[in-house]
Subunit: 482 residues, 2 copies
């Protein structure tokens, strides 16, 4: 994109001039994820030639102070980037101070954005990122709308898009309300609901793996798969995020979004055209909508809720908190492919190790039963395909070979593949780089559709409503199981 | 087995006293394979407590000279065994000198064996190993029979068994004649036809892999497999075995036996009971009997015969030899599982590398056709499962993962498992140890049945008869393809 020419002829392609407006620029997410991702894209020359970042926050900073502050928050590793690149990148950053609920802020912001457009001689694209607590979404969205910042320029150029972070509501009703509000201000094609798990390379790779290897897809059904176990275990305690966590709980924090997205990706049907964003989102939503609600008469058999010992003593946590830091759900999917196959969804804080993975258990010689913790009682000779999401992203297969010597006894071995062993795959791009890139080019594949969000809440909300009927299991920090 | 007691009560179990009679004790096979295998079993205490080896040969040796001579031929690696074990092992060896076609030899041999039985106070088992050129089989078998050495002792104890090396005949007729002769002297349960490939751990493991991993067996058919390529490539030239090779050719040397056995193992149906020797042999024979004969009208399309440049100058080789040192056969199997799936059988001397392996190509996106050398013309995205038999025994799967970054492009990667990486599997027992062990305990699973032999000759003989109608392709030593 030659700059001289583009000052005469307007840029309107996918990398046309773009302003990123970040509400909550001084927050955790902006500092630790958004800005590093933008810097990463900038260095790789994957941002538009003309881009600006406008940070919005209540706090008082001079432009210089803000740059200093953010430079620190970005936590850039020594040697990761050239100092000059960081400096040039931060030159694109400007600041708008104000209260999110004050109409004045949006008027100043409109002037601010207009001045950038004037400098570029063209109406730019605007990407609004709500990097703030969900309670503030509605107010900001309404003010954005009132100030007409959600509209394209008067000549019809310059798209506007909004990036929304999870949690998207906290039950079916609040999610529906937020959706309605968004629907009034934006078309679905302008709304980018982030679940950063969707953009993880290791998750995307599950789709590539399923749909590019004819070896596995014929086996991907109830006839050959016995059960699937999706887990997101963290060593970390709630610690500094105690107040947030006590208000949210594990099920809302990672269950409704990350775990169900993993389930959608492992279980969805293959769309006729995997390159079509709509088709991909439709199939994810379709499989989520087929999740069987946990029957009220069998809550105890299908649900475990736990809280780690000491959670109530974390700062910001109620001394009598009944919030869950661990859950385990056993569910099934009501379609031809999966009828009868149990899916286990498990997540917890303060566990023995960090481990996010999906285990696909194939049918085989199972000598003995499986208990409700997915443990095999007795011996088994089962193939297991494991997708490790983190750490050590990779794929492994447990299979059986002959023990050397007379007879036909077998022992289990592992066929494995680690991204880290593969030079071209060793540096996986950060999920947020991918998400920002896709939002700029308008590809919604890795963003949750309204149908997906509503299907996931439809499954999760009844569990939340029945949570209090279940015993709260107190587990020791560093537990391997609950 | 306590020795004092056993002198009173006779041993009759699988490890009852046994004499190994080796015809051709001074030959290559006895020195390089049989005796090392017997020594290996001896050290592992897998031979009967009371065992003797009686070597038979035309050459003149004192017992001491023979021991010296064999000690050298056995080519024992320094440190592989304790000197004391080797010495004690060789103490079990005695010698019978004579001409194979002289009745006197068999009379002396009978006296020799009787004297050992007398010493042990019990009629022992006798295992006759014909470690000699096939031309001598008939004479020896007839003399053994005439001298009644093929019969148990007069009290009905002491089994007799015969181990026959390949080649078992050199076409359908000679194989049938040999079979008839054996059938007159022995029951099928006494006849152990050796194809040492059958006893290779890596081949046995294919069965374990196929039948113990529910992941793969559902894919093991024409619906999911596109073609199978079985190859046995050797760097070695005919060199010192020129005369033998010029009389035999690659198809008889390794095609009728090793390659077809590999095919049987990769393609056979699973018997109801894999622990039943008869059932295993029956399924191998059944799939071999379904091989489709190469049609006379399409010899050139389905057969390649080659000879490496310089073969005719090898010592012992006719200067105008038309014998093949390389062949490649394309065939199919006429049953439900495999109908329409091409099987490629390829073997050659003087090739670029040593490589014995089976490649199973799964159906997938094949952009382009496959030429008759099994090369894909165009690009492909096919899963390939490879069983490497030697060197570096192992299993690998070519599969596809996502290329990092935007889009859903894939690249091929390898999931692999090497025996050598696995401590418990690192020292694979020699095929001959397994074969001798199984012959002692009477397990015929790893030996070719008469049905298998006849089915394989039925497929190979017409090819041999039509060989001369095909061009003989001369290839350079070190070729990667012909």
């Amino acid at each position: 994109m030659a700059s001289t020419k583009s000052q005469i002829k307007k840029d309107t392609g996918p990398l046309a001039p773009t302003i990123f407006v970040i509400f909550g620029i001084t927050g955790d997410l902006a500092g630790s994820k958004l800005l590093p991702a933008l810097l990463g894209l900038y260095v790789k020359k994957e941002l538009p030639d003309r881009f600006a970042i406008v940070g919005v926050s209540r706090r008082h900073f001079s432009r210089e102070e803000l740059r200093e502050y953010l430079r620190d928050r970005m936590n850039i590793k020594h040697g990761q980037f050239f100092e000059e690149d960081i400096k040039h990148f931060l030159d694109h950053l400007s600041y708008e101070e104000g209260k999110f609920d004050s109409p004045n802020l949006y008027q100043s912001l409109a002037v601010h954005l207009k001045s950038i457009d004037d400098m570029w001689g063209q109406c730019s694209n605007k990407l609004f990122h709500l990097s703030i607590p969900p309670a503030l979404y509605e107010g900001i969205l309404l003010e954005l709308s009132a100030s007409k910042l959600t509209l394209p320029c008067s000549d019809g150029t310059g798209w506007t898009r909004v990036l929304i972070e999870k949690p998207f509501g906290n039950n079916t009703d609040t999610a529906r309300n937020l959706d309605k509000l968004l629907g009034k201000l934006f078309k679905e094609s302008q709304i980018f609901r982030i679940d950063h798990y969707l953009a993880k390379e290791a998750l995307q790779n599950i789709l590539a793996f399923r749909f590019s290897n004819s070896l596995f897809e014929p086996l991907w059904n109830r006839e050959h798969i016995e059960r699937i176990h999706i887990k997101l275990l963290e060593k970390e305690t709630a610690s500094e995020r105690g107040a947030f966590y006590d208000a949210t709980g594990a099920l809302r924090d990672v269950g409704q979004n990350h775990l169900l997205m993993m389930l959608a990706i492992i279980a969805m049907d293959k769309p006729a055209d995997t390159s079509q964003s709509d088709a991909m989102r439709r199939e994810r939503a379709r499989v989520l909508s087929k999740l069987i609600a946990i029957p009220k008469r069998s809550l105890v058999e299908n649900l475990i809720r736990g809280q780690y010992e000491g959670f109530r003593r974390e700062s910001g946590v109620d001394a009598n908190s009944l919030i869950e830091t661990y859950f385990r759900i056993t569910t099934k999917i009501n379609n031809r492919r999966w009828k009868g196959v149990p899916f286990y969804l498990e997540a917890g804080k303060a566990m023995a190790e960090d481990r996010v993975e999906i285990d696909v258990y194939f049918k085989g010689d199972t000598n003995g039963k499986i208990d409700r913790r997915n443990k095999i009682l007795g011996t088994s000779r089962q193939n297991i395909l494991t997708f490790r999401i983190q750490p050590d992203e990779g794929i492994k297969i447990r299979f059986f070979v002959k023990k050397p010597g007379p007879g036909m006894n077998t022992e289990s071995k592992i066929l494995k593949f680690h991204y880290a062993d593969s030079p071209s795959l060793a540096s996986l791009p950060e999920a947020y780089e991918r998400l920002i890139h896709d939002a700029i080019v308008g590809d919604q594949t890795l963003f949750a559709s309204t149908d997906e969000i509503m299907a996931s809440w439809k499954f999760i909300t009844p569990i939340l409503e029945n949570w209090s009927k279940l015993p709260l299991v107190i587990y020791a920090k560093g537990a391997t199981e609950v």
